[in-house]
């Protein structure tokens, strides 16, 4: 019987090795798989390339992973935050690499990675520094830049409900990048607020079909980054 559930976050991320490319769901703290990230910090995996819209907040979650020196390169659209000094300090010190990608191009590159589309043309960033060095082409009278797909070895995402087959639903704006990242990673690792019976999620309401999911760990009461930050917490 197919059963993708796993007992602990530690076990779930144990397959991630040094040098891996890891997509991490979330827009700011919303949708961030904090418990999976903390398990990755516990594990000490290094030289990661991390793909996320931002660079984390405070000294927990993604910011803590970066602050712990585990991330060699960030691919993101918005590495500034009112609550994090971790990334800016490392970046100014030249200790972390940054690939800045417009948010919609980032989303589309990840979707392309999942959908088997190695490259596509987009009008975004034409005529700006972010198009420099990229192939540009005129199509039907408008100029476009060519962008490559983005794939990962692993995706870490948070969802609302999951079943043993890996079907997922999300909650409100916590959906954001997660369904795309599940598609684009060789191995997708999910923390679910609830694991339910196969069939408990209406087939019309599944957002991520199970085919895109490999490992599921239930985290019934996930922490909220902003609450940890308000309490002055840092990780580990």
């Amino acid at each position: 019987m197919i059963d993708k559930t796993i007992d602990s976050a530690a076990q779930a991320v144990s397959c991630i090795g040094d040098g891996a490319v890891v997509m991490i769901g979330g827009f700011g703290e919303v949708g961030s798989p904090v418990e999976l990230i903390h398990a990755l910090i516990d594990q000490g995996t290094r030289d990661l390339t991390a793909i996320n819209n931002n660079t984390g907040n405070g000294e927990v979650g993604l910011a803590a992973l970066i602050g712990n020196g585990q991330v060699a390169k960030m691919i993101c659209s918005y590495p500034r935050s009112s609550h994090s000094k971790v990334f800016p300090e490392l970046y100014r010190a030249g200790e972390i690499e940054l690939e800045l990608v417009p948010q919609g191009t980032l989303a589309e590159r990840i979707r392309a990675g999942g959908a088997g589309i190695p490259a596509f043309f987009t009008p975004t960033a034409v005529g700006t520094p972010l198009a420099e060095g990229k192939e540009v082409r005129e199509l039907e009278g408008r100029t476009y830049v060519m962008e490559p797909w983005l794939k990962a070895d692993f995706a870490l995402v948070k969802c609302d409900s999951a079943d043993r087959m890996g079907n997922l639903t999300y909650h409100q704006t916590a959906r954001n990048f997660a369904p795309l990242m599940c598609m684009a990673a060789a191995t997708t690792i999910v923390q679910a607020c609830r694991v339910v019976e196969a069939g408990a999620i209406d087939p019309e309401h599944v957002v991520t079909p199970g085919i895109f999911v490999d490992r599921i760990v239930e985290v019934a009461e996930p922490v909220q980054e902003s609450r940890l930050i308000a309490e002055g917490r840092s990780y580990p």
Partner: protein, 220 residues
């Protein structure tokens, strides 16, 4: 009223937002940038209905919640708590930017560091050494939305003009801005450059020209 009068002149942030809202047609799908543009949502003119899009995956964004009513997973692009209106929908980032890039959003209101006489916009980076560049969805919005409004103070805090011949900061997009709402005036971007469209109360054409870094065609 003379320019040296002590009476307050020009528009407040709220008035700039309300003035911009008046130019948004009934039934529009609207994306609001972070900062003053967020205020536009408070000033939907009587009898009109707009649908607000926030690029982190929500169509049908409502006003901010009352204190204590915040939902931790219901935020806007500025990562602030919001609400939803009846008829809202949630979707992932690729669908959200398909709405933007595919030309489905009618109007986007953005902030600006500089706008050029050709409608070029710079609003994401000073390009200075040590600055952390952060673009977010701005380049996608200006590339995909037909009507780009800008709301901005007419000058920087140190008095430098934001309406310029050519942007000195790195561009967000070329030739994308159609109308600018400042504290002093409404300015259109036309094939012949900037054109004054409207003056804020108590503001003279001379003052606007003096505080602009490029020529302005007179009000028609």
């Amino acid at each position: 009223m003379s320019a040296d009068s002590r009476k307050p002149t020009g528009w407040s942030r709220e008035q700039m937002a309300a003035r911009a809202a008046r130019d948004i047609p009934e039934g529009s799908y609207v994306n609001l940038g972070i900062g003053i543009p967020e205020l536009v949502a408070r000033f939907v003119p009587e009898g009109r209905e707009f649908i607000y899009h926030t690029e982190n995956g929500l169509l049908g964004m409502g006003p901010p919640p009352a204190a204590g009513e915040e939902e931790p997973e219901l935020i806007n692009a500025g990562k602030k708590p919001v609400t939803i209106v009846p008829g809202a929908s949630f979707f992932h980032h690729a669908d959200s930017f398909a709405m933007i890039r595919g030309g489905h959003i009618d109007v986007c209101v953005l902030g600006a560091m500089q706008v050029s006489a050709e409608g070029d916009l710079a609003n994401w980076s000073t390009g200075r050494p040590g600055a952390i560049p952060a673009v977010g969805g701005a380049m996608d919005l200006v590339a995909g939305v037909e009507t780009i409004f800008v709301i901005t103070q007419h000058t920087t805090k140190t008095g430098e003009p934001k309406l310029v011949e050519r942007c000195s900061f790195p561009l967000t997009g070329k030739g994308v801005v159609s109308r600018i709402f400042t504290d002093l005036a409404v300015v259109d971007v036309t094939p012949a450059g900037f054109r004054l469209s409207e003056l804020a109360p108590g503001v003279t054409e001379a003052e606007v020209r003096e505080k602009s870094g490029a020529p302005l065609q007179p009000i028609r």
